[in-house]
């Protein structure tokens, strides 16, 4: 991911036709659009359908966000009926539920970041020290597995494990406690959510780090060893700097999805009893939109969320470019 996310190297638009096909005329450096079209119309034609897809299903909804500023009636004009300005924004800014939901989003987002970002690095480093190749492969294969499950299946498993007669309560009883209805208690939600998230993502998260580890120059270890560095110091001074670009890239991406904390999973496992800790902006938005049919209000909340997300990525990217020199673009 590290390199692919970077848009193409400089000057894509005006590349002189270098080695390209037998462009008949025009020794000039810049080609006009007319010439480009005449020469590459077949290539451009391949881009039409995908472009249409992006414009209709990605950019049109962005424009569709104007309903956050307009009164929308289901079944009416998709861009709303008339302007109401910032009315819906004011509505949710003054809504105590919104602030509760906002706090929950921050808490769950932070916890997720705190656990789901560093743990794959740790696991990758541990795996890296394994010499028995088959054992290593086996651990990897097993730990990737949860990544391929549907979120519904994960949610169903969580419910079964934490149910009154589930495995979690068997442990509780083993230690002489009384069975706990884990999913009914707000106090347990964060633990359950974060651990299921860790369970599902950690193994797969190691994959890019393991890839990055293979690219570290072996001579560096040799040099470190000659300088008297033990295993631990080699890891600290050679391995970690070696995977730093990957770490930074993934950190920025994680920060970008900070606000959108596991919407689908929460939607599946929360219930009114756990709303106090489980309800996040996106689930709140979902209920407002689809259960209360308040589309404009929900769109305003969604726009707010998306803008914060965008600002977070841009900021993280900027900071990282200034400080460590790694950035997504």
């Amino acid at each position: 991911m590290t390199s692919t996310l970077r848009p193409p190297p400089p000057a894509p638009p005006r590349s002189p036709a270098e080695s390209a096909s037998p462009a008949p005329r025009s020794p000039r450096r810049r080609r006009s659009w007319r010439q480009a079209l005449r020469r590459d119309w077949q290539l451009y034609s391949l881009a039409i359908l995908p472009l249409l897809f992006f414009l209709v299903f990605r950019y049109l909804p962005m424009i569709g966000n104007v309903i956050a500023f307009r009164r929308f009636k289901p079944g009416g004009n998709i861009f709303g009926e008339y302007w109401v300005g910032l009315r819906y924004f004011r509505m949710f800014f003054t809504d105590p539920t919104f602030w509760e939901v906002f706090t929950n989003t921050l808490v769950l987002g932070t916890l997720t970041l705190l656990f789901c970002f560093p743990l794959p690095i740790v696991l990758a480093l541990l795996l890296n020290e394994v010499r028995a190749r088959r054992f290593k492969r086996f651990v990897q294969s097993v730990s990737y597995l949860p990544h391929f499950l549907s979120i519904v299946i994960v949610a169903a498993m969580v419910m079964q494990l934490t149910s009154i007669e589930g495995a979690a309560n068997q442990v509780v009883r083993l230690f002489g406690g009384d069975a706990v209805a884990f999913l009914q208690q707000p106090g347990w939600f964060r633990t359950i959510y974060v651990s299921s998230e860790v369970w599902q993502t950690v193994g797969w998260g190691t994959i890019l780090y393991l890839a990055a580890l293979t690219t570290i120059d072996q001579d560096l270890y040799e040099a470190a060893r000659i300088d008297g560095a033990g295993r631990l110091r080699q890891t600290w001074h050679v391995t970690l700097p070696g995977i730093r670009p990957t770490m930074v890239t993934l950190l920025i991406l994680n920060i970008g999805s900070f606000m959108a904390v596991g919407f689908e999973k929460i939607l599946l496992i929360y219930n009114p009893l756990t709303y106090p800790t489980a309800d996040v902006i996106s689930t709140y938005l979902f209920r407002m939109g689809f259960q209360s049919s308040n589309f404009s209000y929900a769109a305003a909340v969604g726009l707010f969320e998306a803008v914060i997300g965008l600002v977070l990525v841009l900021t993280a990217n900027l900071i990282s470019r200034r400080t460590v020199g790694t950035s997504l673009w």
Binding site: S21, R58, P61, F148, Q160, A167, R231, A306
Partner: protein
Amino acid sequence: MILGTKSEAPKTRGPVDSRGYRIFRVVNTVVLIGVVVVTLFPFLNIVARSLSEEAYIISGKVTIFPRGFDLTAYKLLMSDALFWTNYRNTVVYTVVATLISIVLTTCYAYVLSKPRLKGRGVLVGVALFTMFFSGGLIPNYVLVTSLGMKNTIWAVVIPNAISVFNLLVMKAFFESLPSELEEAAAVDGLNTYGILLRIVLPLSKAIIATMVLFYAVSFWNSWFTAFLYMDQQDLLPVTVYLRNLIAGATSAESAAANADKVQAAATLQAVTIVLTTLPILAVYPFVQRYFVSGVLLGAVKG
């Protein structure tokens, strides 16, 4: 350093392992075994529950071995027509969606991989920007609804047709192909379409297979779009069937109605989980390494 070949490389990190490091390796092995156990436990637990008698489950006695071996719930689910309809829907949606996705992604990735193309930066930007900003749930819903896609397969298949991540992986792959081949083909008189179909695609089997896997898994697993846009039960994919079962929403119809007699709710859930996971588990060992190399294809390059 990832133990490339058994004999060489890794052992050079220290002449002789220090005592501390030997202890570390033992601890490390134990930790990793712990990871394996924790990862596998939920699977074993679910399988055990699916094969157990409800009474044992209710009294909290099933851990990883089935108690009071009982296949009633399996039979029950097998005889539920809705379950099979939904299962078939999942297959159909996955196949159609994957097909569309592959075609669109390949076309766009190929275009983006041509450095000489004027306006390429813009085309890349159009895709990249959507990774960081999206229209959001509500505008998407309004759009899909007003396009009349509700309760049709298109609602599931089209709005998620291109994944930008997959697009970038594929673009990176195309860029790594030797451009001389295509130039030679052009000299021989093939046009762009011909080059793509007869030269590039045959060389790209690995990446296409990877993309098929990526897309197929994500469509197979998806539930939310169907949940959102389909309100007829017989159009739902099996993931939503499972969701309804755990949310207790199916109780009126089908499975749970029969289950009433047997009181097999918990077992039934376990069985549904097992049957929905099974296809993934069955192919996983075979396709797993392609996934891995697929991710690496996009990641380590350059």
